[in-house]
């Protein structure tokens, strides 16, 4: 093949990739604006603009700046983060079914929260009122980190980390967390049950700028760090031996990538509960559009994850306003069939 031809092919492909990213960014922008406009109280763009620049009437301004904007930012952060972690774990484990839930991170976070909700009164009586709203997010974050530490510890044998062991340990941890959650749900009272619903199906509703700021900052830093793993993830597709032959420090990369995913997912679950399917579906759709090269796949998955999660949130907020469905219902209900449709189309899987 002539060199010119290769360069020409590159030349043709670049606009396609650019076009995909432009379309994804534009869609994300539209959905993000939709998140501000749509809701039980319909606002127009000028009200939103006024609210943002600080000239708006008090009520619309409060809706925009105190309710919808933090929710939109959180949705973007979590959607992007779940999707990028899903893409990283799928690449790392060479397993198309991998997502942050698979290796037990979300399960650990949920279990910690359920323990605090149901048994919290026994030991949280003395906690100052000002700190109480943050107890659950902190518990979720600690739960995610604790479970990740356990998983990474168990998955190592003789200093090597086996992907097979990692998945099996994840399955075991999920099972234990599920049993614990089931038992605590059984002994909980009515008020606790409502809280448990939130934490078992996820929601972007309980947000304020403080929590959103911390959580989204952690997620975005993690996302940027994970983008740097693109080349390593490409090499992982050759298998771990060949990746080592190509210069990767395999165990170090597996360990650090999993740990960063745990921090990112823990930060998300701590404020919005576990949200399924985004981490699984977004990388698959992105891969079908843009291919498997991770320097394109990771950012495309992230943008797509943001779009999907905000779409899901728009649906749960607007189906039966002012009531709000758990967002996990929407992501699973939309994501599940859509995923089946994609699988049927894609013969290779």
């Amino acid at each position: 093949m002539a060199l010119l031809e290769i360069t020409q092919i590159r030349g043709r492909r670049l606009p396609f990739h650019t076009m995909v990213f432009v379309v994804l960014l534009a869609t994300l922008l539209i959905v993000a604006i939709g998140e501000l406009v749509l809701g039980p109280v319909r606002l127009n763009l000028s009200q939103i603009y006024d609210a943002i620049v600080g000239n708006g009437e008090p009520m619309p301004a409060a809706i925009v700046t105190q309710i919808r904007a933090p929710r939109m930012v959180l949705g973007l952060g979590i959607g992007m983060s779940l999707a990028i972690c899903g893409a990283v774990l799928q690449g790392l484990l060479r397993n198309p079914l991998a997502d942050p839930g698979l290796i037990g991170i979300s399960g650990g976070a949920s279990a910690a929260v359920v323990v605090v909700i149901v048994l919290g009164d026994m030991f949280l009586g003395e906690i100052p009122v000002g700190i109480r709203p943050y107890v659950l997010p902190i518990a979720a974050f600690c739960g995610a980190l604790l479970v990740t530490a356990l998983i990474l510890g168990f998955a190592q044998k003789n200093g090597e980390m086996s992907i097979g062991r990692l998945i099996l340990v994840g399955v075991a941890i999920n099972a234990i967390a599920g049993a614990g959650i089931g038992f605590l749900t059984y002994i909980s009272n009515d008020t606790q049950l409502r809280d448990l619903t939130f934490w078992s199906m996820g929601s972007l509703a309980k947000t304020g700028w403080f929590g959103v700021g911390i959580s989204v900052t952690i997620m975005m830093i993690s996302n940027v760090v994970l983008l740097r793993y693109a080349r390593a993830l490409d090499l992982f597709q050759l298998g771990e031996r060949a990746a080592f032959h190509s210069g990767l420090a395999i165990t170090k990369i597996k360990f650090s990538a999993c740990a960063i995913c745990a921090v990112a997912v823990g930060a998300g679950v701590s404020i919005a509960g576990p949200i399924g399917f985004i981490g699984l579906v977004s990388p698959h759709i992105a891969r079908m559009i843009i291919g498997s090269a991770h320097h394109l796949l990771l950012p495309a998955s992230a943008l797509l994850g943001g779009v999907l999660l905000l779409c899901a949130d728009l649906i749960v907020r607007n189906v039966i306003p002012p009531q709000e469905l758990p967002i996990g219902l929407a992501t699973s209900l939309i994501g599940g069939p859509f995923f089946l449709f994609l699988l049927l189309r894609e013969k290779r899987l």
Binding site: I6, D234, Q237, A249
Partner: protein, 262 residues
């Protein structure tokens, strides 16, 4: 030159290597031959840096293997596994670029990929997905990837070694010869090539030196003409083996099958 001295390795209670020795000079094609389970691939995996708990000394030039990181190693040698795999739907062009060090400028990378695809007859498949290729083509695509790595190493760092672990195992005779010609060409271009081979005739036809391994030990090493002798091969393989000279001057190795005669 790569030198391996007194290499020993045990997997649990099984002693796989018992003081094997090997030299791989730059610009020569060295074949490791021996019976099944002799430790051929294990010698290669020790030199490749895969084994942590071996005993003995391995040097890449004057650098000890133990002091080299995985990144350092990837800049000195490229390895083609026996059964290379690929989980992602990369096209051939993307696969070949994968293992090329980032230090090589993009323009040089393009030229190198282009040349290697040409050399391996893969140009027309450059934009085809690897999983849509036939077994032989897929194997060549992976060979192209390690060749790109080794030539990039040669360009950037002045030397390159290529390790091929039974590269002809799943190929028909045409493709076996094609692969060995590529390995030969690499050696002629100054690359030190180490090939694990079962087929003694391929080794006789293409290798400069042969290292015969049996029960984890090096039992003979040197130029093909010296090592491939009927008596030694018959002892190692525990069956009568003849070594004749073909009219072309090449050695032809074949087992005696008297019990099948008539």
């Amino acid at each position: 030159m790569i030198t391996g001295r007194n290499l020993s390795l045990a997997f649990g209670n099984t002693q796989v290597l018992r003081g094997a020795n090997i030299d791989v000079p730059l610009g020569r094609l060295v074949a490791i031959c021996g019976p099944n389970g002799a430790g051929k691939s294990t010698v290669l995996s020790v030199l490749a840096g895969e084994q942590k708990h071996y005993q003995g000394d391995v040097y890449f030039g004057d650098e000890a293997l133990a002091d080299l990181t995985s990144r350092d190693l990837s800049r000195r040698r490229a390895v083609l596994e026996q059964s290379p795999s690929l989980s992602a739907n990369f096209c051939v062009d993307e696969l070949v670029r994968l293992s090329i060090p980032m230090e090589l400028p993009p323009r040089d990378t393009d030229v190198m990929v282009c040349n290697i695809l040409d050399q391996l007859g893969l140009s027309e498949f450059a934009k085809r997905r690897v999983d849509n290729l036939s077994g032989g083509q897929r194997h060549r695509a992976h060979l192209a990837r390690v060749l790109a790595q080794v030539y990039a190493n040669q360009t950037l760092f002045g030397a390159g070694y290529l390790f091929l672990d039974e590269p002809t195992a799943s190929l028909d005779i045409l493709h076996q010869i094609a692969v060995m010609k590529i390995a030969r060409a690499a050696a002629q271009n100054g690359v030190g090539v180490l090939v694990v081979l079962h087929d003694l005739n391929l080794a006789a036809a293409f290798a400069d030196d042969v290292v015969m391994v049996n029960r984890g030990e090096t039992v003979a090493a040197g130029p093909v003409g010296q090592v491939f002798a009927s008596k030694l091969l018959s002892q190692i393989y525990e069956t009568p083996i003849n070594v004749d000279k073909h009219s072309s001057g090449r050695l032809v190795i074949y087992p005696e099958l008297q019990d099948l005669a008539g």
